[in-house]
């Protein structure tokens, strides 16, 4: 079979490189380790791209150890490659590559350990994308987590960093156990761990067990995906993690949580939930909308740039949940494009924040006011990235957003567009505000404000020197350029439609995995879209976002008084809920699981 040998490589090549580097930890120099790690990452990315192009024509099913299923019972572990899973693996490799290039000057004190952690992180995320086995997914989930916890707590001198990592680790570990309990429930019902087999065995019947298992698995992965009310850890972890790690967290890791929910839903659960799609849709739309608006509001209220970007990620995760919630192939295609576009842009923004930290030693927006006016390259890239975040054509985010909106309109849910616009205005507005403040020195900052309510201090992550770090700008520029390129590839929307159709084809998936069936890929219908209308709307929204950002730094912004009271109060309350106390986070988490379960139980009965 064409390309069959390639399938395990995106996982085992990075892991092998990690093992070799760990063995040679004391014996290789930093530069050699850099080159080695970058080469392994490039290999994984190239193989993933090749797999994507092969699986466009024929999805691949790979059985480790050659244990093909017998009479529909799977004995071993399978990888199931379709264009979406392979593309996500490629995106993961690309982001890791950007992070590695960015961090050429980072982490000088820990030798090759950093590379080992990054490579295992990469292998784990690729495996998480490609696997077709539920328990194997849990294993990669944990592998991802173990490397992410360590990377996140890298700055052991900072109490915030340790506390943030602890919060991150504790909530995500509970998430992993939720997922495992859900898997155990499904195993108890079906006696299977392969997703295709479970999906087939569950049949058309949604009872308490199926609902609970779905709620546990969904909640567990939503913790990773930072969806309300499971999102609390994200801002803490992002605020404290080293910049290249933030690039990976926001750029891909969080999105993979949602990817897992989508995969599990369409392969395992859809048979049982098909009669209740509209109920499920209603619940998920509410969750997504709350996440999007909550994240956006808090994002706009932040002055710590990394925290601001983190809450922007929360907001965009809400939009992505909406993309999934519609439960339509067109929306799923839009979601896939949106994830790619958003990941690239968010990665670039975090890299630019890292450059600020590298040069100026802080990421506080007010403190940095006017301090970065001599950085023309950063200024340009930051502005372009802000435009991308707002969803301006021709960015990948625009493509994804307009597809999701089309799909929502077809379902008679036109109000979803408004959620997208509000989220874009809030998050992109905040980014434009930072841009104007920091890079242009616009607006006035009072001395009282400068002191701030609370001292934000960040340890410098790098050594001083190199005021214009070429490779850091290079990484950011490439990511932004790719985000534009994604939106310009002709026919990409159609490809995405076909891929989404394939991902939702449960019967086809089961037949390919369990019965060795050789089915052709069904092409999606070419759908003519009214591009002009969405082009115009997105442009208007971008302009509005920019205007909103500028308004926030103008002297007309109501700092005190009647109009700003409610907003200030809301932001203050919301910020207070993000207390940094792990007990609160776990209480909210428990609430979330209980609420999901009870709501679904009521809706379905």
């Amino acid at each position: 079979m064409n390309g069959y040998y390639l399938v395990p490589l995106p996982v085992v090549v990075p892991l092998s490189a990690a093992a070799i580097l760990a063995a040679l930890n004391k014996f290789v120099g930093r530069r050699l380790a850099d080159i080695f790690a970058i080469a392994a990452t490039l290999t994984a990315g190239a193989v993933s791209l090749e797999l994507a192009s092969i699986s466009r024509v024929q999805p691949l099913v790979y059985w480790f150890g050659g244990w093909t299923p017998r009479a529909g019972v799977s004995l071993g572990i399978s990888f199931a490659i379709d264009p979406i899973s392979a593309c996500f693996a490629a995106l993961v490799s690309l982001m890791v590559l950007a992070a590695l290039i960015f961090s050429l000057r980072y982490f000088e004190s820990i030798g090759t350990l950093y590379h080992v952690l990054m490579l295992v992180f990469l292998g784990a995320m690729c495996g998480f994308c490609l696997t077709g086995d539920l328990f194997n997914m849990f294993v990669f989930f944990e592998m991802m987590s173990a490397s992410a916890f360590s990377l996140c707590g890298y700055k052991i001198e900072e109490p915030e960093s340790l506390q943030g990592s602890l919060n991150f680790a504790i909530t995500n570990t509970i998430g992993a156990f939720l997922v495992l309990s859900g898997i155990a429930l499904l195993y108890g019902r079906t006696g299977a761990l392969n997703m295709a087999q479970i999906g087939r065995a569950l049949g058309q019947h949604a009872d308490g067990l199926v609902v609970t298992a779905f709620v546990f698995i969904m909640a567990g992965f939503f913790i990773k995906a930072a969806v309300f009310p499971f999102h609390f850890w994200l801002a803490d972890a992002h605020a404290v993690a080293p910049t290249p790690v933030c690039v990976l967290f926001s750029g891909v890791m969080v999105e993979l949580g949602l990817y897992a929910v989508v995969r599990v839903y369409w392969v395992v659960m859809d048979g049982a939930f098909a009669p209740y799609r509209s109920e499920l849709r209603a619940m998920l739309l509410v969750v997504g909308t709350i996440t999007a608006l909550l994240g956006g509001i808090i994002c706009f209220g932040q002055r710590h740039i990394k925290r601001l970007l983190a809450f922007s990620t929360v907001s965009h995760m809400g939009l992505m949940v909406i993309g999934f919630a519609l439960l339509k192939p067109e929306a799923l295609a839009g979601l896939a494009l949106y994830v790619i576009g958003h990941g690239l842009i968010k990665g670039a923004l975090f890299i630019l924040a890292g450059i600020l930290l590298h040069r100026l030693g802080t990421v506080d927006e007010i403190e940095l006011h006017g301090h970065a006016t001599d950085m023309p390259i950063s200024t340009t890239i930051f502005l372009i990235a802000g435009l991308g975040l707002a969803g301006l054509p021709p960015f990948g985010t625009f493509l994804g957003e307009s597809q999701i909106e089309h799909s929502a309109e077809a379902l008679g849910l036109g109000w979803i567009s408004i959620v997208f616009y509000l989220a874009a205005i809030l998050t992109a507005g905040a980014v434009f505000r930072v841009w104007a403040h920091v890079y242009r020195g616009w607006g006035k900052v009072g001395a009282a404000e400068k002191k701030g309510a609370k001292k934000i201090h960040d340890l410098r992550e790098t050594r001083r020197g190199h005021p214009r770090p070429f490779e850091m700008h290079f990484a950011a520029a490439v990511l932004v350029a790719l985000a534009i390129a994604v939106g310009m590839i002709p026919g990409l929307e159609h490809e995405a439609d076909t891929a989404a159709l394939l991902m939702q084809d449960r019967a086809g998936y089961q037949a390919r995995v369990l019965d060795h069936a050789w089915l052709p890929v069904i092409e999606a219908k070419e759908t003519p879209r009214s591009e002009v209308a969405s082009l115009a709307r997105s442009t208007v929204v971008t302009v509005l976002a920019f205007a909103f950002g500028m308004f926030a730094i103008s002297r007309y912004w109501p700092k005190k008084g009647f109009f700003s009271r409610p907003f200030v109060l809301v932001v203050a309350t919301l910020r207070k809920a993000h207390s940094g106390h792990v007990g609160d986070y776990v209480a909210f988490l428990t609430f979330g699981v209980a609420a999901f379960g009870i709501v679904l139980a009521i809706l379905i009965r």
């Binding site: 602890l166 992993a176 404290v240 993000h578 007990g583």
Partner: protein, 119 residues
């Protein structure tokens, strides 16, 4: 008795999960919290073990080729539990490392006394 026992092990699993959560939420010490997480995890052991159990069956370790008619319990859940145990050990190790360093910096392990990350 049989009826009671047909559900009791599962209820124990749920109970341990809930107790683990309770410990995590109310904990005043991160080391205590980590051990509560271990209890929470043991819920998954109990659940997996009870799902794979079969009345009167032997362990899946045979002297030779299995004789027809002697049922064995499910070996797959046991393999999963082995993985689960490794996960427990590693998670606890990482969390403890974080807690030790946190205490070096702040002289406290009480989440109530840490305010660094508010807002």
């Amino acid at each position: 008795m049989m009826h009671f026992l047909s559900f009791f092990p599962y209820a124990v699993a749920a109970w341990l999960f809930v107790m683990g959560l309770y410990g995590v939420v109310t904990s005043r010490n991160f080391v205590h919290l980590i051990m509560c997480l271990a209890v929470l995890q043991s819920s998954t052991y109990v659940l997996l073990l009870s799902i794979g159990y079969r009345w009167g069956a032997v362990a899946p370790v045979f002297a030779g080729p299995p004789v027809v008619g002697t049922p064995a319990v499910d070996p797959v859940v046991q393999a999963l539990m082995l993985t689960d145990i490794v996960v427990e050990a590693t998670v606890v190790a990482l969390l403890l490392a974080l807690a030790v360093q946190l205490h070096k910096n702040t002289r406290t392990l009480n989440p109530d006394e840490l305010e660094a990350l508010e807002g």
